[in-house]
Each structure stands twice: as C-alpha cells, then as structure tokens.
C-alpha cells in the first residue's frame, strides 16, 4: 500500500509538470478562440485595453504570493519585464488582434506561431548562437507552412 502510494507520489512529481503544460496548451488554444470572438465585436485597440486589464488578477495574485522582495530582486529584470515582455509584447498582441479582426483565426494563429524564427535569427546574429539541425528543419518547415498559408 505504502509502496504504491510512494510510486503514485513519484509519478505525480514526474508527470505533474506535463499536466501543467497541457493545461497551458489548452488555455492558450481557447484564448485564441476567445480573442477572435472579441475582435469580431470590437476594434483591436478596445480589445487590447480589455485584454490588458484581464491579465491583472493573475499578476497581482503572483505578486502577493512571492512578496515585494522577489518582485524587485533585479533592476535589469524589471526593465526587461516591463519593456521587452510588457510593452513590446503588448505591441505584438495589438498586431495579433488587428490580424484577427481582419482574417480567420484558423489562418492567423498558425501563421503567427512561426515567430521563434525571428528569435532564432536574432540569437544567431547577436549572440552568435549556432542553429541546431532541428532548428534548421524548423526554418524550412515554418517557411513552407507560411508559403502554403499565404
């Protein structure tokens, strides 16, 4: 009994993250649909404003959970978070909403998923990273996908 409980705990620990990944996958999938329903009803700017305020509860809950010290642990981290992951990502999201308002989500969402192509190119150019064989395949497949979508 205790052995099987031990196995269960162990497998829970081992696979718990997988469940979290799958929940994230499903939530983002539903998010795409909800965003399309939103941009069918309002413009992308209005949608973006509502979307941004909708993000707040999770952020505030996280802040409350970790406390002030963890939030301000790194000035560089704050700058990157606010600017690069906040303002810049918000600009990207506004473009996503504008694309959704103008086109079908079943084309827009897969097309946008090739964005790591840009990340990889920037990393090669600025960080002198090497492209792995898998990433090289990814470039070919992503570009072929975009060509078929356009």
């Amino acid at each position: 009994m205790s052995a099987s409980a031990g196995v269960a705990t162990d497998s829970k620990r081992r696979w718990g993250w997988l469940v979290h990944c799958l929940i994230a996958l499903l939530l983002w999938g539903v998010w795409g649909l909800v965003s399309k329903l939103l941009t069918d009803r309002v413009g992308s700017v209005e949608g973006q404003v509502l979307f941004s305020f909708g993000m707040l509860p999770v952020a505030l809950f996280g802040a409350w959970k970790v406390g002030r010290r963890a939030l301000v642990a790194s000035p560089g981290g704050i700058a990157y978070g606010l600017g690069g992951l906040g303002l810049l990502a918000a600009a990207g999201n506004l473009c996503f909403f504008a694309a959704l308002a103008a086109g079908p989500v079943s084309l827009v969402s897969p097309a946008i998923s090739v964005y790591p192509l840009v990340t990889v190119c920037l990393a090669v150019f600025f960080l002198r990273e090497r492209i792995s064989a898998l990433q090289a395949c990814g470039i070919v497949v992503a570009v072929a996908g975009l060509a078929l979508l356009s």
């Binding site: 998010w31 909708g54 906040g86 790591p116 192509l117 840009v118 996908g145």
Partner: protein, 145 residues
C-alpha cells in the same frame, strides 16, 4: 492593412520578445516576470486610451467578459507554463509542447466558428505550427545533441 501584414508585424514583434526573454532569463522569478510584463501591458493599454475610436461599439457585458477573459486565460496559461518549469519540466520539452496551442485554436475555430480551411491551408497551418515547435526547441544546456 490586411491580416497578413498585421501577422508579419506580430511575428517580428513576438520574435523579438522571445529574444528579450532569452537574454533576461532567470534575472527574476516567474511570478515577478509575469507581474512586470503585465504592468507593461497595462501601461501600454493606458497609453492607448486616447486612441480609442470615437465611434466605437458599445461596451456590452459580452464584450467585457470576452475581453477580460482573453487576458485572464492568457495569463493563467503563462502561470501554468512557468509553474511547469518550476516543477522541473525540461524547457526543451515544455516550450515546444505548449507551442502546439494554435492547433487547439484551429480545431475550435473549425468546429465552433465554422471557419474552413482548404487542404493547402490546412497543410500550411500544420507545417507552420510544427515549424514553430521545432524552432522553439533549445538544446538542454551542457548537451551538444
């Protein structure tokens, strides 16, 4: 502008965000990153307020619910991904796996919104997502595979 033009703009912007994420990884914990990124979103939203169109659709309960839940769903998903990484998920699996999410959106759009894709577009959608997944795979540090 047409949807492909906006899509290209989103790809360029989010691709750069991915790069920022890469160079700023581990400067702050996940909750702090989500917090500051959200504050960035809210600042951007406040800056957008003067640009709201004068003749805009009414803010109905449906619009309010859809708009707020769009942000809520996205940030809960962020939270689950970060929590998976915190629980020891290998980033080399977690990030490409969650990058499959547009396929969920496509399935929902085809079934619930009755959008339709030609065979060519369907193959294109699948390849684009798989390409994104392959591109988001990062070698685990210390491995040369």
């Amino acid at each position: 502008m047409s949807w492909p033009a906006y899509t290209v703009a989103a790809i360029l912007t989010w691709g750069t965000v991915g790069y920022v994420q890469k160079i700023s990884a581990n400067l702050l914990g996940p909750a702090a990153v989500v917090f500051w990124a959200t504050i960035g979103y809210v600042v951007a939203a406040l800056a957008l307020l003067p640009y709201l169109p004068a003749h805009r659709p009414a803010l109905t309960a449906t619009v309010l619910i859809l708009g707020l839940s769009s942000g809520l769903l996205n940030n809960i998903a962020n939270w689950f991904l970060y929590s998976a990484l915190h629980k020891g998920a290998p980033a080399s699996i977690a990030i490409p796996l969650t990058a499959l999410y547009p396929l969920v959106t496509v399935l929902l759009a085809l079934t619930l919104l009755h959008e339709s894709l030609s065979l060519r577009q369907g193959i294109g959608a699948l390849l684009a997502v798989v390409g994104g997944v392959l591109l988001s795979y990062e070698r685990p540090s210390g491995s040369d595979a």
